[in-house]
Point group: C2
Chain length 234, copies 2
């Protein structure tokens, strides 16, 4: 494997702890506003709606719709089930905006800084550019380039995302690595000819996580942190 | 004027000294290879072909073509006039790649770092993303986001560029400033509703520069360096 010229990162779960961040923020919201609800359940159900909502776009059933709008629609669907139907627009907008300020995993920012000395680093996320810029700035993560789904108007694992990013970098897919905590994302990237780096995040989905706890294929690099990935790339 | 949430920079001439960089590199090439030519004249003629080459794309006469390919075509046209018709492909490719490693003006990198603490900063250039990433990395300039013409498949001053960048930032045009050394670029940005910041670069075109030596309209901010722009934005 030749050293990749660019390493593109999946973001939700790979670089940021969406679940812990959402649970903490929603729980604090409940305490502040005196609302009792299963905030952990809401966070998990909200994320549970993520792939199905994007699948409607991938399949063509829904015209291109960015992730903020998908998040809002799935939140609106879920709130009654959690006894929160009375929440107003401003509170719902605030909840959707939580996805713009998720906490990085403890190793993310420093690991990215190290890797950035050795390669071009960027995002390749199903989040939109604006969300990714917000995450990077609030989380102290510095990238050379931001690729979000709204640039390609496709969601991963559609090949337009992986190949579109390579085209914008003017690099052949074999010179680009996708780094992700999700085997399915890496499989799709490999199918497009990209190199693959697996960073397991066994707590992404909480203590009962079953999937993606380990590599399910011979990914080019397997590393337990972003910094370890940087070291292995050399 | 409300403080802009994002400041997007023109790059060639505004942040990097394309002319001084090209002349220095071409002159060194001539000395190393024993070739005598009017390197300054070649640099100026090459840049002279820049707007006409993009105009063929803007007008629709030429299908979308990125700047590297336009640079190569105009170089191929010009070399015979400068007695350099014998240059081979590798040397021509090397010359085109010079545009990927132009030197920043002395104030650019530090000024951008200061402004980045106060706003989202990015590029909005007619260069492609790959070129801009190369310029940023070789020049030590850190941006929050890179917008190049190949994302929009339009060249400035087409409104698709200014408005496309605002859409990807999820910001209204009035919350975004274009910073540029060129009055015409700022006029187009203002026409799209963006704020405008003028940074004169009276030496961009060399000692005989006539245009863009001063502001030709009441731009929202006028500053003689990137750092001064950061201070005026506050």
């Amino acid at each position: 494997m030749a050293k990749p010229r660019a390493v593109l990162f999946d973001v939700f779960g790979t670089l940021v702890d969406w679940r812990g961040s959402l649970i903490a923020a929603l729980t604090a919201f409940g305490e502040k506003t005196g609302r009792n609800a299963d905030w952990t359940g809401l966070a998990d159900a909200w994320r549970g709606a993520y792939q199905p909502s994007m699948q409607r776009v991938r399949s063509g059933a829904l015209a291109w719709t960015g992730l903020d709008a998908l998040h809002r629609a799935s939140l609106d669907d879920l709130l009654p089930r959690f006894g929160l139907a009375a929440l107003g627009d401003a509170e719902r907008d605030w909840m959707v905006a939580l996805w713009h300020r998720l906490r990085p995993w403890p190793d993310s920012a420093a690991g990215l800084a190290r890797l950035r000395e050795r390669a071009i680093i960027g995002t390749l996320s199903n989040g939109p550019v604006a969300l990714l810029v917000d995450l990077a700035k609030t989380g102290g993560m510095t990238f050379d380039v931001i690729f979000g789904a709204d640039i390609f108007r496709h969601y991963k694992p559609d090949p337009e995302t992986y190949l579109g990013a390579c085209a914008l970098l003017a690099l052949p897919p074999g010179a680009v690595m996708l780094a992700a905590a999700h085997n399915s994302d890496l499989a799709a990237a490999r199918g497009c000819g990209l190199q693959t780096g697996f960073i397991p995040r066994p707590d992404e989905h909480g203590p009962s996580q079953k999937r993606d706890v380990q590599a399910e294929a011979d990914w080019d690099v397997i590393a337990d942190s972003v910094g370890a990935l940087a070291d292995k790339i050399g």
